[in-house]
């Protein structure tokens, strides 16, 4: 966890832009990441997360803007920057026809890590990931969760100061996902700066700070709790047997900012938590069956939508 004393800024991104033909994938992105911080790029597909991560990793050149990683200007000296950065692309980069050990050795050699150092690190990390019995197995024969862990181990073998992860947990089972995050938290305590992109909005809450991205721009950039606080009002969950009736009854009620239909009821975004009472009374009066009504924490998706609506001038409407 980041301490109160200032941790060094390891990543500094300024006004990054990238176009593909006529399409602007990234339009002016800026953020900083400190040592020992997990920074999340959160947003749907097409928001520009992967493109941004690729530019940080030095595998794609931006059209405009600056990237400084660990004091090195990535645009001017990309190869120098790569020495202390580790990149885990969405497709990992594992060689399926090489064994676990052979994969690790390959990347250790590419980064010129001393033999003893990388062997020790490999032993430790593989044991922590419960993968020691699988060292001689071909990477192609590992399960999805294990491939992901191996990908991470390969990217950590040269002890990077900066770790860039592009949607590392997509489609992976929740248990492995959880273990993966525990590894990230350990790295955090060792001072590694991490940028992690994800389309799972609920993963955003696991980050220290996050940037909500949409259509190539950062809409908001702050800690998860600060972002939630920024969402005005409160969220009510009303469960009942006819969600549609609930919705129709509630939608025009004063103080209601938005209603979302869910399977078993509705989520209502109100400007004030006190509205709950009014709504309860109104529903009883109209004889609409309600199983429960309570205040809930807004999900990151609620957040995203609400902030998007609040900001409707800036973000393009689909």
């Amino acid at each position: 966890m980041p301490t109160a004393t200032a941790a060094a800024t390891l990543i500094d991104v300024g006004s990054l832009e990238k176009r593909f033909g006529a399409v602007s994938a990234v339009r002016g992105i800026s953020f900083t990441v400190r040592s020992g911080e997990i920074f999340g790029l959160v947003g749907p597909d097409g928001a520009g997360k992967t493109t941004t991560t690729r530019m940080l990793a030095g595998v794609m050149r931006p059209d405009a803007g600056s990237i400084v990683i660990d004091g090195v200007n990535v645009l001017e000296q990309p190869e120098l920057a790569k020495r202390h950065v580790s990149y885990m692309p969405q497709r990992f980069g594992l060689y399926e026809d090489l064994t676990v050990d052979e994969n690790i050795r390959f990347y250790a050699d590419l980064f010129e890590v001393e033999r003893q150092v990388w062997q020790e690190r490999a032993d430790t990390m593989l044991a922590a990931a419960d993968m020691t019995p699988f060292r001689k197995r071909l990477a192609g024969q590992l399960s999805g969760g294990m491939k992901q862990k191996l990908g991470l181990i390969c990217s950590l073998v040269h002890t990077p100061r900066v770790l860039l992860l592009d949607e590392p947990t997509t489609g992976v089972d929740p248990l492995s996902r959880r273990e993966f995050w525990q590894i990230l938290y350990t790295l955090r305590s060792e001072g590694v700066a991490m940028v992690l992109s994800t389309a799972y909005l609920d993963e955003a809450e696991r980050c220290d700070r996050l940037a909500l991205m949409n259509a190539g721009q950062i809409m908001f950039c702050d800690t998860p709790s600060a972002l939630k606080a920024r969402m005005a009002g409160a969220m009510l969950e009303i469960l009942g047997s006819s969600p549609r009736r609930l919705r129709d009854a509630v939608i025009d009620t004063p103080g209601v900012l938005g209603v979302l239909l869910v399977g078993t009821g509705v989520h209502v975004h109100v400007d004030d938590p006190q509205r709950a009472l009014q709504i309860q009374e109104m529903l009883t009066a109209q004889d609409i069956p309600v199983n429960s009504l309570q205040t809930v924490s807004p999900s990151v998706e609620d957040l995203f939508i609400a902030l998007l609506d609040q900001d409707i001038g800036k973000a393009p409407v689909p």
Partner: protein, 317 residues
């Protein structure tokens, strides 16, 4: 566990009993049983490789089950797969529409493929276009449309022939949240019209949109119920969130506390599974204060589906 719809009719449109599907030695579907009622929206949640796609393919009549039964719209899938396909609609993330054809051309094509009669096709075309919100853009090439439009249009194409059952295979990948919500509203209105919908997804938060959900892992059905039921009952205890300065270092202090099942870091807070929230919250407050922590807040939180999933699969939190 039947769920009465607003129309009050309960009739299973899909019945699956002890379904098994093997590929050589690998068991992709392992004794799965469930049913889906008319107008019900059932979600299948699970990671990649869990067997969701295989299950959908069996129900569509594309794969032959090894044992067990699957009855879709009253037809045994193994006996007459062709008839099944006439009664269902299918929408997949992997392929939806032809990018180099226009909206209308795509709809006509699918209408023809699904055997929609000439008499009905015009009406259905208008319905689909309206549903997608593409009025006035019928001649645009699909490739020029943004993700959300394509998704709604693909849904329209899948229901041109008014199927009673709709299968959606990872339908909302790659779509922004607003479009996703709009999409789910459409699904709900279909449900109210009596269409049974089966959705498979690896996004746990999509579960909220469904009436009931089934959790799948390694080909097995590990839980079945409403999102609320699964969240509450699957977890063996109460979930607490502890936040405050330096809270991450407090794990060691709290790990061995009475009533603590397990505690782990979650972002800038700790999530702790305890036996009784009311009992333990003041205890932990006291413990942390004694250890020198200030400004700590502890509150009970609703577990997520992921928590339930992990619990059911047998891992620690």
């Amino acid at each position: 566990m039947t769920n009465p719809t607003s129309s009050g009719i309960t009739a299973p449109q899909i019945i699956v009993e002890d379904l098994v599907k093997r590929f050589g030695d690998f068991i992709a579907i392992n004794q799965v049983s469930f049913s889906v009622n008319r107008g019900e929206i059932m979600g299948f949640l699970g990671p990649n490789g869990a067997g969701k796609s295989t299950l959908l393919r069996v129900l569509c009549g594309l794969l032959h089950p090894n044992s067990g039964r699957a009855i879709v719209a009253g037809i045994d899938v193994a006996q007459d797969p062709e008839a099944v396909r006439r009664r269902i609609g299918y929408m997949s993330q992997k392929f939806s529409l032809y990018n180099d054809m226009s909206v209308v051309e795509n709809l006509r094509f699918f209408g023809g493929v699904y055997g929609v009669s000439r008499r009905d096709i015009q009406d259905r075309l208008h319905f689909a276009v309206d549903m997608a919100g593409l009025g006035g853009r019928e001649d645009s090439l699909v490739g020029t449309l943004a993700g959300g439009w394509k998704q709604r249009l693909a849904l329209g194409a899948a229901i041109l022939h008014k199927p009673a059952i709709l299968f959606l295979d990872e339908p909302t990948s790659g779509v922004d949240p607003s479009s996703r919500r709009r999409f789910w509203e459409l699904i709900h209105s279909l449900g109210e019209d009596g269409v049974s919908v089966l959705v498979s997804t690896h996004y746990m938060d999509e579960a909220e949109y469904c009436h009931r959900i089934a959790l799948i892992n390694h080909g097995k059905l590990i839980a079945l119920g409403t999102p609320r039921e699964l969240k509450r009952h699957a977890l063996d205890g109460h979930l607490l969130e502890l936040s405050g300065e330096r809270i991450g270092t407090a794990i060691a202090t709290l790990d061995q506390s009475t009533g603590m099942h397990n505690v782990a870091v979650f972002g800038s807070s700790l999530h702790a599974l305890v036996d009784d929230a009311e009992l333990r919250i003041p205890e932990f407050q006291a413990q942390l204060a004694a250890a020198g922590y200030v400004g700590i807040t502890i509150r009970r939180i609703e577990p997520s589906l992921e928590d339930s999933f992990v619990q059911l699969v047998g891992g620690k939190k």
